[in-house]
């Protein structure tokens, strides 16, 4: 439909006055960035459109991550899919399994004759989105990783240093509460932070088959002694308010920004919100190390979303899309995006550029995420995770952990049930993609 319209417009344009109007090829981009980040997405598209005249990127906000993905799936079933859609990291397995629906980004760049060098990208960022053979399936866009945010004023008042280990965290939490704070520690996105990243950070596998990278017949194994001990310990911290559970996702953000809790573990991408809302001096530091599990941290894994090209459009349109991908990952755009939002830059060049511009000197701690991600070469345990039905699995983990925080279950019970329910979902997914 789009093509015939363009052809018609072309015919009309040439028929009327030659060269008066050039038809632009429209490329639809569905995304999940609301609010200030939505405006930034619009700016990226507008700048790209202004930089050339052959293609026009049309960004459309489709709701949150889940809604955007569902919208794209429904559109594909109706044959009305956009060219490009932003999908969060846990949807990766679902997208990847949909072989006829997606157009792997690396292949698309090659087909369009667009220069593309994978080594420009940060390994910890792109490893999450590669096939076991190393082909890049989708283009990283907004990637973040969990860090520990701390209230620098409160820590100083309580007379404790910024914690580096879980023992430090407990000491600091006690000191904060003793010094009159409402609570010591809280966190959000608990499956991502406390299970997925806790495992990667200590180089433990979360599921078999290289965390699912090597096959859909993977099984969860995160109900091990180490994770159990850590979670039991946190649950015991609820007593005396050393730890306070504040809800799923980012719901616990006000606990930190209001000055109730002195430490908060969640995405580095909350940087923008912190600048806006926190009335005190805050900082971010690496996730704490559990010294009973490992001597040194491995590397953390990313969250956030990538851009997937969907199949079923004209080659000419993909050519424009490839050009846009190049523009999007250019150092200038990435450095700007990184500095504005707190998402990590996806290329080494953008990181270097931010350094040169003095961003990290002016805003100490803003390179924590990137340092965490590139601390070591990712191992099969820390490269990322790839589990089917993972949106539901995360809900299962949320539910079971909530039962733990509420005191209804022990960590062992909660994790065993989570693994059992999670494995059932994995089997269901394995079957649906056969």
């Amino acid at each position: 439909m789009g093509v015939s319209k363009i052809a018609l417009t072309c015919a009309l344009a040439t028929g009327l006055t030659a060269g008066a109007a050039w038809a632009e090829t429209e490329i639809q981009w569905w995304h999940a960035m609301g609010g200030a980040n939505g405006e930034r997405v619009d700016k990226i598209a507008a700048d790209f459109n202004a930089s050339q005249s052959d293609y026009k990127i049309v960004p459309t906000y489709k709701g949150n991550y889940t809604e955007t993905m569902t919208a794209a799936v429904a559109a594909f079933r109706a044959g009305e899919q956009p060219h490009l859609v932003q999908v969060f990291e846990v949807g990766t397995a679902t997208m990847m399994a949909a072989k006829g629906a997606i157009y792997p980004v690396e292949q698309m760049m090659a087909d369009a004759g667009e220069p593309f060098d994978k080594s420009d990208y940060l390994p910890a960022v792109i490893s999450y989105y590669q096939t076991p053979e190393g082909e890049l399936l989708s283009m990283p866009f907004n990637s973040s990783t969990p860090v520990m945010w701390y209230n620098a004023d409160a820590l100083e008042a309580a007379g404790v240093d910024v914690p580096e280990t879980w023992d430090d965290v407990k000491t600091a939490a006690q000191a904060l509460v003793d010094n009159g704070m409402e609570c010591g520690l809280s966190f959000g996105w608990q499956s991502w932070v406390m299970i997925e990243n806790f495992s990667a950070w200590h180089n433990m596998e979360m599921g078999t088959k290289e965390n699912g990278f090597a096959g859909f017949d993977t099984e969860f194994v995160f109900n091990n002694d180490k994770v159990e001990a850590r979670l039991d310990d946190i649950a015991s911290m609820s007593e005396g308010n050393l730890f306070k559970y504040g809800g799923r996702r980012g719901d616990s953000l006000p606990l930190f920004t209001n000055g109730e809790c002195g430490m908060w573990m969640n995405s580095s991408a909350y940087y923008g919100s912190m600048v806006e809302q926190a009335k005190f001096k805050f900082g971010q530091t690496m996730l704490p190390l559990d010294t009973s599990v490992a001597d040194a941290p491995q590397n953390s894994i990313i969250g956030g979303a990538t851009l997937w090209a969907l199949a079923g459009h004209e080659a000419e349109e993909y050519k424009g899309l490839a050009k846009f991908m190049t523009y999007l990952s250019s150092a200038e755009v990435q450095a700007w995006w990184h500095q504005e939002t707190g998402y990590v830059p996806i290329t080494t060049a953008a990181y270097e550029l931010s350094k040169e511009q003095g961003f990290y000197d002016k805003n100490p701690g803003t390179d924590t995420a990137i340092k965490q991600l590139s601390l070591n070469t990712p191992t099969p345990n820390s490269r990322g995770i790839r589990f089917g039905n993972f949106v539901q699995v995360r809900d299962v983990i949320n539910e079971e952990l909530e039962a733990l925080w509420a005191g209804d279950k022990t960590a062992a019970e909660a994790l065993d049930t989570a693994v059992e329910r999670g494995n059932a979902l994995l089997r269901k997914f394995e079957r649906s993609v056969k």
């Binding site: 889940t66 993905m69 569902t70 799936v73 594909f76 079933r77 679902t94 399994a97 949909a98 072989k99 006829g100 629906a101 559970y245 504040g246 809800g247 799923r248 719901d251 006000p254 606990l255 209001n258 109730e260 039905n389 949106v391 539901q392 809900d395 949320n398 539910e399 079971e400 909530e402 039962a403 925080w405 509420a406 209804d408 329910r421 269901k428 079957r431 649906s432 993609v433 056969k434």
Partner: protein, 293 residues
């Protein structure tokens, strides 16, 4: 023999019912049959690989303890919402019926919440009860209640029940008030002359006389609690914590639209459909007989 009167057959009656039939076909029969078909499939999200499995999705559901627990929860939730909102509406209507001056203003104000969209109603309650920022947790703290519906399932359930019931009070109020005003004044006056006080009059005369309305509202409220509370739950708790506010319709949404498990979700909506049909039949067959008209 009976004499039959023959009218010339005409196209008109068919034409007159045609729009209704068309709407039913397009908006009910067709989607419902699609759901039934989908419930027999195990399919990936994009519809690229499909397997016909007969009743396996249903078998999986009935082996799932969490799904079975959702039934009990839904019944509790619906009963709580219906009882709370209907009794509040009945009391308010009882008072509003007696108001002499400014009656219109009272009524308008009481009907207002009905105009609020479910999601907005949910958002209002979310703000009021936010454990960190809300006004109610702040007040409750003085009486020693530690309010955190992100963690406490019972509090979360109470919150969605209150929010859902509050939203429905206006609707129930409207019907109760209309029913009360259609009771002949002479009946009430006769009772008053015989010495019945306001409470006695309400108990022995007004309440039995509005029982057809009570029955009607029971059906409406049950359907409301089963389906329309989705927006409130989505805005307030999203079914959490630990599934404690996940009712049947929310699970259909969550498994289908968040989890992209279309077969399982369709099977659930088929069960829900059967359940509602059964419920309506039971209500009309058995409950209606006990109502005095």
């Amino acid at each position: 023999m009976l004499k039959r009167v023959h009218f010339p057959s005409s196209l008109l009656p068919y034409l007159l019912v045609a729009p209704q039939i068309a709407i039913t076909l397009v908006f009910f029969i067709w989607p419902a049959s699609q759901a039934v078909y989908q419930s027999f499939l195990i399919e990936d999200a994009f519809g690229l690989s499909t397997e016909f499995v007969w009743f396996e999705n249903f078998e999986l559901l009935f082996e799932d303890d969490i799904y079975l627990a959702t039934f009990g929860r839904t019944i509790f939730f619906s009963a709580a919402v219906a009882i709370l909102s209907m009794s509040m509406a009945l009391i308010l209507a009882g008072f509003a019926d007696r108001v002499v001056r400014g009656a219109t203003a009272y009524r308008t104000l009481l009907i207002w919440p009905y105009a609020v969209a479910p999601v907005l109603a949910g958002a209002l309650w979310v703000f009021m009860f936010n454990p960190t920022l809300g006004i109610f947790p702040y007040i409750l703290d003085f009486v020693g209640v530690d309010w955190n519906h992100y963690l406490n399932g019972n509090q979360a359930m109470a919150l969605v029940v209150f929010a859902s019931a509050w939203k429905q009070i206006a609707y129930n109020f409207l019907f109760y008030l209309a029913a009360m005003q259609s009771i002949p004044r002479s009946v009430i006056e006769a009772a008053a002359i015989d010495g019945a006080g306001p409470i006695r009059r309400f108990k022995d005369f007004i309440f039995p006389l509005v029982s057809p309305t009570t029955f009607f509202l029971l059906v409406i409220n049950a359907v409301y609690a089963f389906f329309e509370t989705f927006g409130i739950i989505h805005a307030v708790t999203q079914g959490g914590p630990a599934n404690s506010t996940t009712i049947l319709v929310y699970k259909v949404f969550n498994d289908g639209f968040v989890g992209l498990d279309l077969g399982g979700s369709a099977a659930q909506s088929v069960i829900l459909m059967v359940l509602v049909i059964a419920m309506t039949v039971v209500q009309f067959r058995f409950v209606e007989r006990r109502v005095q008209y």
